[in-house]
Structure formats: structure tokens, C-alpha cells
Amino acid sequence: MGMLATAGLFLPLFPLSMVFNLLAKKLHHSWVRCSFLLLWPHVGVFLTSAAHVKIPEIVVVWAMLTSSIYALRLLTIRDLGLWSAFLVTSSSALSWILLAHGTDEPTVHLFLVWTTFPAGVLTLLAEPLSRRFGSSYAGLHGGLAASLPRLSLMLVTTTLAAIATPPFPGFFALLGLLRTSAEWPVITLLTLVWIIWSWAAARMIQGFLAGTPANRVFNDMKGAPVLTHAITLGLFAASGLYMTWNAT
């Protein structure tokens, strides 16, 4: 059980999740923070597998509550970096459902990749925003859709991927999770969490894209990073579709 409790630190369960978020907040370098967000939950999966114990029902309930709490918290967060960390907390907590249903370890790892990877990319996008505006804080500098259309496009597509909209793999991963759980309370709560993610994402995007652009002129993203980003998201979506197709 000790192993399981430790796993709760990595596959965040409230209040142990606070450690994860505190660390994410302290890490200022975007690549380091991105790597941290992407790798940390996988440690939890390793630990639960190594523990070889059946996940108690209560842990699933606990995980669902954790996911819901962080989804709701997303509605009020305006810092993009922190928002990404909270989204990772909310989504990776859901892997407990898979683990409780005895899903094999690679599939759980894959679930984590599909649901957390775009959030990691979002933390990278916080960096160009901070460079231009001093921080990646929604609502302080609106009107990006008009003043920085390329960066805005990157922000929107990555956010859509992060909240598991089709055709990004997160969508199919969550559909798979719904099918695996097959219990009405879980399905209902999971659907609610999913809706709240979308709501929070809309608020976040609105804080950056809508409004009157600042008086100052900022340079938009250059072609190479935009292309790299597009290829990355394209490959991500394509690999998700490919693996989903193979799995079915």
C-alpha cells in the first residue's frame, strides 16, 4: 500500500497533487517544466505496476474527485503555465480508472501520452508569450488574434488538442476510458469533467485572443517554429488516429 500511496504523489491524487503543482510552479524554464509535466505521471504508473496490488474502488472515486476539483480550478486560473499543470493533474488522475480496471501498463502509458502531451506543448507556448508581454497571463494583453495571428493559431490548436477534441488522440483516449469504465456514475462525472475542460479552455483562449490589441507592435512567430509546431501536432494527431484504428 505504501507503493500505492507513493504512486498517488506521481499520478496526482488530492492533496498529494499539491506537491506536483507546487513543483510545476517553481520550474520556470519552459522545457524543464514541459518535461516534468510529461514524465512525472509515468513514474506513478511504474510504481502501481510494481506494487502488484488491486486498486481499491475508493481510489477511483478519489481520482475522479481530484480530476473534478482541478477541472473546476482551471476555470479561474489565468496563467498559461499553471493552467497546463492543472490540466495535466486533472487528466492524469483519470489513469487510475484504467489501472483499477486492470488495463495493461503500456496502454496506461499511452493514455498519459495522448492526454498530457498537448498540455506540455502549451507550456512551451507560454514562453513566447512571456517574452513578448512579460508573462503568459490571460486577460492582460488581449487581441492576439489580430496582432499575433500565427501565435494565436498555435495557441488555439494546442489548447484544442489538450482538452481532447477530435481528431486529436486525447479524444479517442477518453472515449476508450468511457468504454472501459462502463459505470454510469463514472461516465457522468467524466463527461462533466470533459465539458468543464472545454469551458475553461474557452475562457483561457478568450483571455488571449479577444479584445483590443495593445498599442505596441509585437513580432509574430516566424515560419520555422510555426511549421515545427504544425508538424508536431499533425504527427501527434496522425499517430493517434493510426493507433486507434489498429486498436479497433
Binding site: S130, S135, Y137, G139, A146, V217
Partner: protein, 1041 residues
């Protein structure tokens, strides 16, 4: 509960007066059915243009000039006069002290020409010494900011006139303003609805406040939100009492109530403007039945605002009054400062998260720990940003050394100067753009004497002064032997009009005029069956769409038909609408009732109406059919009801009515069926308004002809072209119609004046006034459709047969002019697509008028820039690009200047309203304009909102004044050019108080051209300056002015 009821009438009147005065800076908003162009700062026209713009910025949070980057583009394009710009800079510097070794003129010109962003910044924590240190790359000296300075900063940011909740919002991020606006808008939509909703708000006839408060007391939604409105409303029944109670509760000192009211009313200035207009429109049906005024509206806002403040105070411990707000700032200066920084979006971005965290906990120690760090970094940030923009300016203006050597005191002075200059620079740009346009226009004028026409021209055409007439006039003059004239589109006849099958009166004249005469439209012959069938079908479909359950069935049953309609309108709008119009029966031929009724005729009409009313009453009240009544019985009943006879009636005897029953019936005739002396008098007065006396008819025609200088040399045809527009799915359609006709089509006025001018009796009277209209001259009304460029002749059935031989030529030439005009206009609508073929361009123009997805069917009056009052000869060789209002005027016909005064008092005022509406909608479309049409929704059938809930959008939509987000309309004040001897024109200007104020306060630019002296006078800096006319006047100026 303490009783706060106001018993004194004087106190009530005092509050009413305060509210009405407080609302004066907010312009009227007319219902969109008759869109009236107006100056959004009309209420501030008593002050100078520059001051009014600054006040508008304060009141409406709107920009008064275009941003610098747009002006810089204009400068690069060559539409700004660089000399005039330099002159404005010199003028600004004339009162300034020299500063170190700096070349201030060069510095300011560099800002205008090369700096896209403002150079001066608002420094709250940093000072000139800090900027100096930053310029010299020194570390800032540590400095402690006293807490009192922080509280002062916060208090100065919280305006003492602004509503309390805006202060609470800016400190606590509570969003009370938006919640309050939402609640108020919903209440307004319920009350002011003009038939859009199927279910009406109950009790509306009691007035806005009374009906709203009756519902609000029982409003469950408000109660669930925790708003105890009922508790507040119990204090007083009257809106005035409520206003006083709330203001006392909020602790607002009484001496600032008026400013506070203004601030409250400007929160939703569209709704306020509508209510202001509505309460002043005594003839307006909806106002007569459902009265409302600003006092009601303000009372509702204040009650809801207080309820929201109390609810937040209870839940989140926020201040609920002015004293509490001030106390909070004084007691917690550090927290208040950080709160204000965070919630007013001024927080230092890199510390935003930290500030948010600290404010969430409200922990004093954490705030105290963060504050010094925040203050230091904010101060450094301000100093660094300011130093950086100064450095850029220094490099661009070759002043690097001088700025580097400047002392902190010099820098302080420089920053102050830059800040003041950048606040005023908008006017400098505007002036320079106007100078450029003025120069081009004056250079293009042809001031030579016009040669007398040797032969009679084929036709003379009177067009509205509207800028859109200029294009078609130019083309018409080119394709045939035509003389054109410009006159206000109501042709000088202010008239109330009751159209065929219409129950209400439309005023066909500028809104500043109230018409005395009324004209009725009567059908010659009609098939009522066809009309009834189509009406019934349309009515049924409408009912099906709007009731509660039927839409579900309607979609299943006839949804496909709507799909057909949609595809037709979208894919082939021209052909589909042509086919669809065949379903409607043609409008029957009509005549206008223009002549005054004699007293006998009027009496006879009233008698006849009363008799039919008696027959109706007898049938309804006593179930007695007409065939049982004799003529004498009806006469007797009528006379008894009118009290011209006494005693029992034959009717009562015949039908055995006892005396009380007879008395009751007579009373009902008097009160319910309105057969009484008083109502008969009212009817007589109304009938008295119909038509014109012969003297009036001759006077109106004479005045119209004299005002344009047409008193001799009449052609065989004199066309009177009223104008209007046609478009689909366009709430702004009436904005494209004739402003001089109160936002309606101008055809009726054209028909009226043509019908009058063709009367032999009128011509005889005109002959006595030396206006000799030959017997073979015929006045024909025409309609100029500004969306399609079509010119269609009307009332041709009245044309004598001898004229018919000329009709083919006339029609051909009108059509040719229309097509050429379409080529020019389509090019301006779609500059990237060539439109060389007149037929194609004409077809495209007609398609635009039918296409329901077309957000810009025409440019309307966009780019209007000048108003020329003078002979057409002066401008007939110029291509004015549809930017100039052209009013024909010959001062020789007007020795006393009265006609010129009329032109200035009517058409010019309308032109100025149009110009200012376009100006402000172009400079700040979000605030003074109405934003994009794509998001508009109709509100209550009288206005539009953005999205499903917003303030009523005033002004013009983005599609009317902007292209691709940049101004298509180049905002300039209207340049008015009068061709007349200087003393003559100046006297006229001085005699029209309104125009005099507009000119002296800088709302209009005015030039008087004296052709005979070869000079012109320009009004500038409070006086007239004389200049010689430019010597070289090229023969043909195809280059636009």
C-alpha cells in the same frame, strides 16, 4: 422601517430636472426604422470641437481621433498636408519654453512622422530622475513609497463621479457593472418591445418604473440571486423618491449627484439615448401607450445597483457605499493598491500570478512582503520603458546627445511637454488632412461666369444634395443634354404623410422640422382579393413561426419551403426575387390628396364618420340592424349625442327603450364611440391639416425653384429625383435613405412637388412672382435607387400625350447614366475586381440590392467630406468621387440672403449630422459606431444589439465606414463652401445661430468663395482670413478633389 417617501412636489421636480440635465450630453437614438444620422456628441456642440472630443472620451470611454499609425499611412499616401502639420506643431510650441539644447520642433515632427507608438508614458511610481538614471544605465536609487501615496493613487483612479460599483469592481474584480447592465437590458427589452415578443410584459401602460417595480417585487430570479429588491422598493413608490433614497444610501454627496447621474446614464448610452428620444416624441405610438423617461430608467439602475452592492457586501465583504469604499482604501492602502493594479489590468505581467495569489489569501503579512518588491519592479519597469522610448526618439530625431545631456529637470519638462502634445496631436493630424482636401477642392473650382445656354436643354433634373447624387449627375450631364440641380431631398416641402393602408403618419422632412401639412395617398382602383390572400398567408406563416408550440410542427410540415426560399435567396437572389415579387399583387396606382378641404367638405366627412359610428354602436350595443333604422333616427341620435338637441328620441320610442336605457346608450355614444363636440373638434383640426392652400403650394414651389436659382429657361422636362435604397436583411436600410426626408424614401416629396408644379393655377401665381414656367414644361417625379443606380420615372399616367414621343430618349439616357454610375460605384465596392462593362456592373448592383447575405449593399454616404452651396458650373468639370453634398444656389436670386439662411439652417445642419456620424463611427467604431453587422441582432424591432444582449448599438456599422478594419471613410469635419459675395454669405452665417456656433466652435470648416472678386475667405482661429483664388484653373479636372 424608516419612511423616506418624498412628499414635496418641489423635491420631486428638482430630482427630475437634475436627471434630465444629466442626460443632455447623451445623444438621441431614433428607432432604426427611420435611421437618423446625428452627431454622437450633439449634446456637447455648445462647446468647441476639441473640448467636446475630450469630454466624449471621458463620458463614453471612446477615442476622438484616428490612431497615429493610420494618420502616418495617410501622410505616406499624400492625403495629409505636411506644411499644415508643421504649422500645427509650431502653433503648439509657440507657448512653450525652449528646453536645453533640444530642437523641439524636430522632435515633435519625428514623433508624428516616424514613431508609431506614443513616446510619453503614464508614470505612476517612477519619476524623471529614474528615467534619467535609466538613460545613463545607472541602477535606480532605492526609494520608499509612502502608503499614503498609494492610497492617493487609488483614490485618484476611482473617479468620485463614477458609480460606486465601478470602484468596487476595479478593486475586487466583482463584475457588478456587467451584471447590472445585463439585468437592466433585460428589463428594457421587456418593457420597450414593439411587437417582437409574442408574450408582452404585463402592466406596461402604467409606465416603466411602475410596471418594472410591480414585477421586480415578485421576481424569483432576482431573489435567488440574493438581490433583495423588494426591501428597497418598499421605501418609496415613486422613481424620484427611490433615486433620493439610493443616493443617500450610497453616501454620494448631493453636490455631485448630477455628475453621478450622467456617469450612471452613460453606462448604457444607447438605451439612454433611446429613452431620451422616446420620452420627447409625443406623437410616438409606443410612448403614448407605454410611457417611460430617464427618471424611471435611472431609478431602476440605482435600485438594482444598490441590491447588487448589498448582496456582494454580504457575501464577499466588499464596500457598499462611497464612505465605505474610501475607508477601505485608507485602512488598507497596500491591498487596495495591489487590488487596483490587478483588477484594472495594470499589474506588472511578471508578478501577476504572485499578486493574484496574495490577494486571494488577503493575508496582511504576505501583502506587506510582496509590496516593496512589486513597487520596486514596477518603478523600474516604468522608468526603463520610458527611457527606451526616449532613446528611440532620440535616435530617429538625431537628438541623442541632447537628450543624453538633459538634466532630470529638463527630462521632467520634456516628458510633460510630450504628454501634452501627444494628447492633442489628433487635432493636428485632422487639421492637416482637412487642409489637403480643402486645397485640392478650391484649386479645382471653376469660378468663371457660366455661359448662357443658347438652346433649351433636353431636361433639367433636380437631385437631392446627397453625396451619392454627385456621381449620377456627372454621368447624366455627360451622356445627354441635361442640366442638373441639387436641392434638399424633401424639395423644401415638410409634410406628414399617411401612405396607402397605413394607420400612422410619417414625417417626410428633416427631423429638426415638424410638418404642419398632411398628405394622404389614395388608391385609384385595386383588387382587394389578391391583397387579402397574400396578407392572410403571410400572417399565418408569421403566427406559426412565433407561437409556442407550432414551430415544431411548422418545421416538419413546411420547413422545406423555407429551405427553397433560403437557396433561392442565397444562390440566385436576382432571379429568385424577381420570381417571388410576382406572388405579390402590384401596388395599385395612387394619387396624393394635396388640396385643402373646405369647411363644408370637412364637416361632411365628420358627419359621415359619426353616422357610420352610430350604426355600428346600435348594432353592437342593442343588436339592431341597419335596415331597421331610418335616416332621421340616426340624425336625431347624432344631434342628441352632440348636445345640439334635447329630449327623448324617436329611436327610443320606436324600439321601446325606457329613459335610463336611452340615457345610458347616449352616454356610450359620447364616451365610447366618441360622438361628442370635443372629439368632433379634434377631427376637424386633423382634417384641417390635410393638404395645402393654393398660396402654400405656390410658395413652396417658388421657394424650391428660387433656392436653386432656376427661375427661367425651363426645359420641356423637369425631373424631380427623390432617392432611397433597397437592400435585403439589412436593419440599417433606412440609414441609406434620404436624411432630408427623415430617413425615408424621397419619392413622395418628389411626387407632391411635381403634382403641385404642374397645376395651371400654381403656375399662374408663380408667373406673378416672375417665375415663368412655359406651358410645355412638365414636372415628372423620379426615384433614384442609390443601391442599384436605377432612375425610374413615376406618375407617367398623368403625362400629356404630346410628351410621349420623347420618352424613349429620356429613358435611354437615364439608363445609360445609371450604368455608367454603376461601373464607378462597383469599382469602389470591389476594387480588386475590374468592372469595366456597364451592363455587368449594373447587374451586380441590382444583385447587391437583392442579396440577403450582402453586408455592404452600397457605401452609402461614406467618405463625405464637403458641402458646396453654389452654381453647378463651379464644380461641373470635377470628379468629386461622390464625396460632396451639392446644393445649387445663385445669390443673384436671393438679394436678402433668406434662401441662403434656409439652406444653412436645414440641409447644412443635416449634412453636418451625417458628417459627424461618419466621423465618429470611423474613428472609434466600437464605441461611437455599432461594430460588425455580422453579430447584430434586432432588439424589440427598434434597434440592434451585438450578440444576444448588449447596449443598443448606435452609430454606423463597421461595414459602412471601414474596409478590412481600416477606415474607408476618411474622417474629416465637413468643409462647407459657399459661393457668394463675402458680406452676403457672412451675414447669412451670422444670422443662423446654429450654424454660427458650429463654425465658431470648429464643428464645421467654412470657406466663402467670392467668384466676382476672385478671392475666398476661410474661417480660422476665430476669424475670417482672405486669400486670392488660385490662378491656374485647369479646364477639366478628372483628378478627384
Amino acid at each position: 422601517m424608516e419612511c423616506h417617501m418624498i412628499h414635496s412636489l418641489g423635491e420631486r421636480l428638482r430630482i427630475r430636472t437634475m436627471v434630465h440635465v444629466a442626460g443632455e450630453p447623451i445623444p438621441y437614438f431614433w428607432p432604426m426604422r427611420t435611421f437618423i444620422h446625428h452627431n454622437p456628441l450633439h449634446g456637447l456642440e455648445h462647446t468647441s470641437f476639441t473640448k467636446a472630443v475630450a469630454e466624449g472620451t471621458r463620458l463614453f470611454r471612446a477615442r476622438g481621433y484616428l490612431p497615429r499609425t493610420t494618420h502616418q499611412r495617410y501622410l505616406a499616401k499624400g492625403t495629409v498636408d505636411p506644411k499644415a502639420l508643421e504649422q500645427q506643431v509650431s502653433r503648439f510650441l509657440a507657448t512653450e519654453q525652449p528646453l536645453a539644447d533640444l530642437n523641439l520642433h524636430q522632435l515633435l515632427m519625428t514623433i508624428l512622422r516616424e514613431c508609431p507608438q506614443p513616446v510619453s508614458m503614464k508614470l505612476t511610481l517612477a519619476n524623471a530622475q529614474d528615467v534619467h538614471d535609466m538613460l545613463h544605465e545607472k541602477a535606480l536609487q532605492p526609494r520608499e513609497t509612502p502608503l499614503t501615496q498609494l492610497s492617493d493613487l487609488v483614490k485618484s483612479a476611482l473617479s468620485k463621479h463614477a458609480p460606486v460599483y465601478t470602484g468596487v469592481d476595479s478593486l475586487f474584480g466583482t463584475e457588478i457593472s456587467s451584471i447590472l447592465n445585463e439585468l437592466v437590458i433585460k428589463s428594457c427589452l421587456d418593457f420597450f418591445d414593439e411587437g417582437q415578443s409574442v408574450w408582452q410584459m404585463p402592466g406596461r401602460s402604467k409606465g416603466l418604473f411602475a410596471s418594472w417595480s410591480a414585477i421586480a417585487r415578485r421576481n424569483l430570479r432576482l431573489f435567488i440571486r440574493g438581490l433583495h429588491v423588494k426591501q428597497i422598493l418598499e421605501v418609496d413608490d415613486t422613481p424620484e423618491g427611490m433615486i433620493r433614497y439610493v443616493m443617500n444610501e450610497l453616501g454620494v454627496p448631493e453636490d455631485v449627484w448630477m455628475d453621478y447621474f450622467t456617469s450612471e446614464l452613460t453606462q448604457l448610452h444607447g438605451w439612454t439615448g433611446f429613452i431620451r428620444w422616446r420620452s420627447s416624441a409625443k406623437h410616438y405610438y409606443w410612448n403614448r401607450h407605454y410611457p417611460a423617461d430617464l427618471v424611471d430608467y435611472l431609478a431602476i439602475r440605482l435600485v438594482l445597483g444598490l441590491a447588487l452592492l448589498r448582496e456582494h457586501a454580504q457575501r464577499a465583504h466588499t464596500p457598499r457605499s462611497v464612505p465605505e469604499l474610501i475607508r477601505f482604501v485608507d485602512d488598507h492602502p497596500a491591498e487596495a493598491f495591489l487590488r487596483h493594479e490587478f483588477h484594472s489590468q495594470q499589474v506588472l505581467p511578471e508578478l501577476a500570478l504572485a499578486v493574484e495569489d496574495v490577494l486571494a489569501t488577503r493575508h496582511k503579512n504576505r501583502i506587506a512582503r510582496l509590496l516593496p518588491n512589486y513597487l520596486a519592479r514596477k518603478r523600474e519597469h516604468e522608468a526603463r520603458s520610458q527611457a527606451s522610448s526616449l532613446r528611440v526618439l532620440a535616435e530617429k530625431s538625431d537628438s541623442a546627445l541632447a537628450i543624453h545631456q538633459a538634466t532630470p529637470a529638463d527630462l521632467n519638462q520634456l516628458l510633460d511637454l510630450l504628454s501634452r502634445f501627444e494628447n492633442q496631436e489628433g487635432y493636428a493630424w485632422l487639421y492637416a488632412e482637412e487642409a489637403h482636401y480643402m486645397d485640392r477642392l478650391i484649386h479645382g473650382l471653376n469660378i468663371s461666369l457660366s455661359a448662357k445656354h443658347e438652346k433649351r436643354s433636353f431636361a433639367q433634373v433636380m437631385f437631392c444634395i446627397d453625396v451619392r447624387s454627385e456621381r449620377i449627375r456627372r454621368h447624366l450631364e455627360k451622356v445627354g443634354d441635361y442640366q442638373t440641380y441639387g436641392i434638399a431631398g424633401f424639395f423644401g416641402i415638410p409634410v406628414g404623410f399617411i401612405g396607402l393602408d397605413k394607420g400612422s403618419e410619417t414625417h417626410l422632412c428633416p427631423v429638426v422640422v415638424t410638418p404642419k401639412n398632411l398628405v394622404l395617398e389614395l388608391a385609384i382602383a385595386r383588387s382587394t382579393d389578391d391583397q387579402a390572400f397574400v396578407s392572410v398567408v403571410e400572417q399565418i406563416v408569421h403566427e406559426l413561426k412565433t407561437s409556442v408550440l407550432s414551430p415544431f410542427i411548422t418545421v416538419e410540415a413546411i420547413g422545406l419551403l423555407f429551405g427553397f426560399d433560403m437557396f433561392g435567396k442565397s444562390l440566385a437572389p436576382l432571379a429568385y426575387n424577381r420570381w417571388r415579387s410576382r406572388l405579390h399583387p402590384d401596388k395599385p396606382g395612387t394619387r396624393l390628396l394635396l388640396d385643402k378641404l373646405t369647411r363644408e367638405q370637412a364637416d361632411s366627412i365628420i358627419r359621415s364618420l359619426q353616422r357610420s359610428m352610430i350604426v355600428k354602436a346600435v348594432g353592437r350595443e342593442l343588436d339592431i340592424q341597419r335596415e331597421k333604422l331610418t335616416d332621421d333616427m340616426i340624425r336625431e341620435l347624432r344631434e342628441t349625442a352632440l348636445e345640439t338637441r334635447e329630449g327623448p328620441t324617436e329611436f327610443a320610442r320606436h324600439f321601446k327603450l325606457d329613459s335610463p336605457s336611452e340615457d345610458r346608450f347616449i352616454e356610450r355614444l359620447k364616451n365610447v364611440y366618441r360622438i361628442n363636440q370635443r372629439y368632433a373638434q379634434i377631427q376637424l383640426e386633423r382634417l384641417g391639416r390635410i393638404g395645402f392652400t393654393l398660396d402654400e403650394q405656390a410658395h413652396f414651389v417658388s421657394q424650391a425653384l428660387r433656392s436653386i436659382g432656376l427661375t427661367e429657361g425651363f426645359s420641356r422636362f423637369v425631373l424631380l429625383a427623390g432617392h432611397g435604397s433597397t437592400s435585403e436583411n439589412n436593419p440599417y436600410e433606412s440609414a441609406l435613405d434620404c436624411g432630408a426626408c427623415g430617413g425615408n424614401h424621397g419619392l413622395i416629396n418628389a411626387r407632391i412637388i411635381a403634382q403641385i408644379a404642374n397645376k395651371p393655377a400654381v403656375r399662374e401665381r408663380l408667373r406673378a412672382q416672375n417665375i415663368l414656367i412655359p406651358d410645355d414644361t412638365w414636372f415628372i417625379p423620379a426615384f433614384h435607387n442609390t443601391t442599384t443606380d436605377e432612375l425610374r420615372l413615376h406618375d407617367l399616367d398623368l403625362l400629356p400625350p404630346s410628351y410621349l414621343v420623347y420618352m424613349e430618349r429620356l429613358n435611354n439616357e437615364l439608363q445609360a447614366a445609371s450604368r455608367l454610375c454603376a461601373v464607378e460605384r462597383m469599382q469602389s465596392l470591389e476594387p480588386d475586381t475590374p468592372h469595366d462593362d456597364p451592363m455587368d456592373a449594373y447587374r451586380l448592383a441590382r444583385r447587391n440590392a437583392m442579396d440577403w447575405s450582402q453586408v455592404r449593399p452600397e457605401w452609402g454616404l461614406a467618405r463625405n467630406a464637403a458641402f458646396v452651396i453654389g452654381r453647378r458650373h463651379m464644380t461641373d468639370l470635377m470628379n468629386l468621387e461622390g464625396r460632396v453634398f451639392l446644393h445649387s444656389y445663385d445669390h443673384h436670386q436671393d438679394p436678402r440672403g433668406r434662401l441662403l439662411e434656409n439652406i444653412l439652417a436645414g440641409p447644412l445642419v443635416v449634412g453636418q449630422w451625417i458628417n459627424m456620424e461618419h466621423y465618429f463611427s470611423a474613428v472609434d467604431n466600437d464605441h461611437y459606431g455599432s461594430g460588425s453587422k455580422a453579430y447584430h441582432n434586432i432588439a424589440g424591432r427598434f434597434g440592434v444589439m451585438t450578440g444576444n444582449l448588449s447596449d443598443l448599438r448606435t452609430g454606423l456599422p463597421a461595414q459602412t465606414v471601414l474596409r478590412d478594419g481600416e477606415p474607408y471613410h476618411e474622417p474629416m469635419r465637413l468643409l462647407t463652401l459657399i459661393e457668394a459675395p463675402f458680406p452676403h454669405a457672412r451675414t447669412a452665417v451670422e444670422n443662423v445661430a446654429k450654424i454660427k456656433h458650429l463654425v465658431y466652435n470648429g464643428w464645421l470648416r467654412m470657406v466663402i468663395v467670392d467668384s466676382e472678386q476672385g478671392s475666398f475667405h476661410r474661417f480660422e482661429d476665430g476669424e475670417w482670413h482672405q486669400y486670392p483664388m488660385p490662378s491656374s484653373t485647369p479646364a477639366i479636372k478628372e483628378i478627384p478633389a
